[in-house]
Symmetry: C2
Subunit: 241 residues, 2 copies
């Protein structure tokens, strides 16, 4: 066997090992259909083209697997990659981006741009969920304050978006993934809050429609009517008229 | 000029450019001496050997610079690198690690280990500050609950530390940086809470002493007695006996 043949054999063997490793990759997602945090992970995995097993959790009766895999927070989403769990949605998305780094980069490569992307994703985490929840769990003055807070946060995000197609610029990325899951809740916020997000933040609504043209997003988000029905049932359970 | 001379000249020119760039690096930190979040950034910069200008903020009368550089949260710490601001302490530490990547790596290189480091740093952010504050701002049953919560969180961290010298293993890193600033507040928590952290978490106290042997840490943390006096003044202002 000459050198070229030896090299070819070695390449073929290495490729075989890589393919075997790829086949061996076991990816499981513990999730709950209406969670905007779970949606982030679904979108990241879809962007990367990763096949995975989706396991729906009953949050009132959490599985032993969830409690074992996320004993600290006991929350979805949890990604289990070859038996090893990763929790907290933004941390999972970064992990997915770092492990499957050959296609669809989600975070920018420039450190300053990465820091900015992390800043806005963190802003969404700290500000959007509670503000949104307050819109549909309160009434009267408290609700007016919640709507003002919610819209104020969205307007800051709209200003950050500016005239770019996506938050990171020309391609869909980390901040888009962090925020877009909230858009399928907009209909519920608007109906129970009796206000229009589009009237206040037209560019953000145009951005959400742009994101929904991507199959990775449209297949990962819940139907807004089903989210509305879910919120309606939650309000009944909480005794809100 | 022969090839070697040409190469030497080129090397000298490249080195000159790098030195010029290094000299041009302007690094400013907006901070407040007692902030455990600011301490994270001070330690990261010290680990990397970065010279910077420290600007103390008066948080009751924030500077125009702070309001310009962090208009969203209006909080310290803010790192200003060549005129560009980065906010949120853990995001700053990651930025510092990515920009000055030639020495003292703070995050592990393995994606799974990175995700775990981010998870625990995030846990500290979500759990330690509020629990600690509740220890010195409350009384009676409320304070008992706060102490229980605070110690419970520390015990989870102690379990995660295990018998390793540092959270990441043999070398000081991201999770150590995230947590160690709290240790100079321990004396205040213990005195106002009338409890002993060392009695409950001896390994964690040993870890804190180990960290303090590093100059990057000891020079970045506030004196525990001064922190105690600061907390005492805060309690007076809040009308707590």
């Amino acid at each position: 066997m000459n050198q070229e043949q030896q090299d070819n054999l070695q390449n073929a063997q290495e490729q075989g090992v890589r393919q075997k490793i790829a086949r061996m990759d076991e990816v499981i997602l513990l999730d709950f259909w209406v969670s905007m945090f779970g949606m982030r992970v679904r979108i990241a995995l879809a962007e990367k083209g990763i096949k995975y097993e989706y396991k729906e959790e009953d949050l009132r009766n959490k599985s032993v697997l969830l409690l074992q895999m996320n004993p600290i927070h006991k929350k979805i989403p949890v990604l289990i990659h070859n038996g090893k769990p990763i929790s907290e949605s933004l941390i999972i998305v970064q992990y997915v981006d770092e492990v499957w780094n050959e296609k669809a980069p989600l975070l920018p490569s420039d450190p300053y741009q990465r820091a900015q992307a992390r800043f806005w994703a963190d802003f969404i985490d700290k500000k959007m969920y509670d503000a949104g929840r307050n819109v549909w769990t309160t009434k009267g003055e408290e609700q007016e304050a919640a709507k003002k807070e919610f819209l104020g946060n969205l307007k800051l995000l709209e200003t950050e978006l500016g005239n770019k197609p996506y938050f990171g610029g020309d391609s869909f990325g980390f901040v888009d993934i962090a925020l877009i899951g909230f858009s399928c809740w907009f209909h519920a916020y608007e109906t129970f809050g009796n206000f229009s997000i589009e009237a206040e933040c037209p560019k953000l609504i145009a951005w959400a429609k742009r994101c929904m043209e991507k199959e990775s997003v449209s297949k990962s988000l819940a139907d807004e009517k089903k989210v509305y029905e879910f919120v309606s049932r939650m309000r009944n359970k909480l005794g809100i008229e």
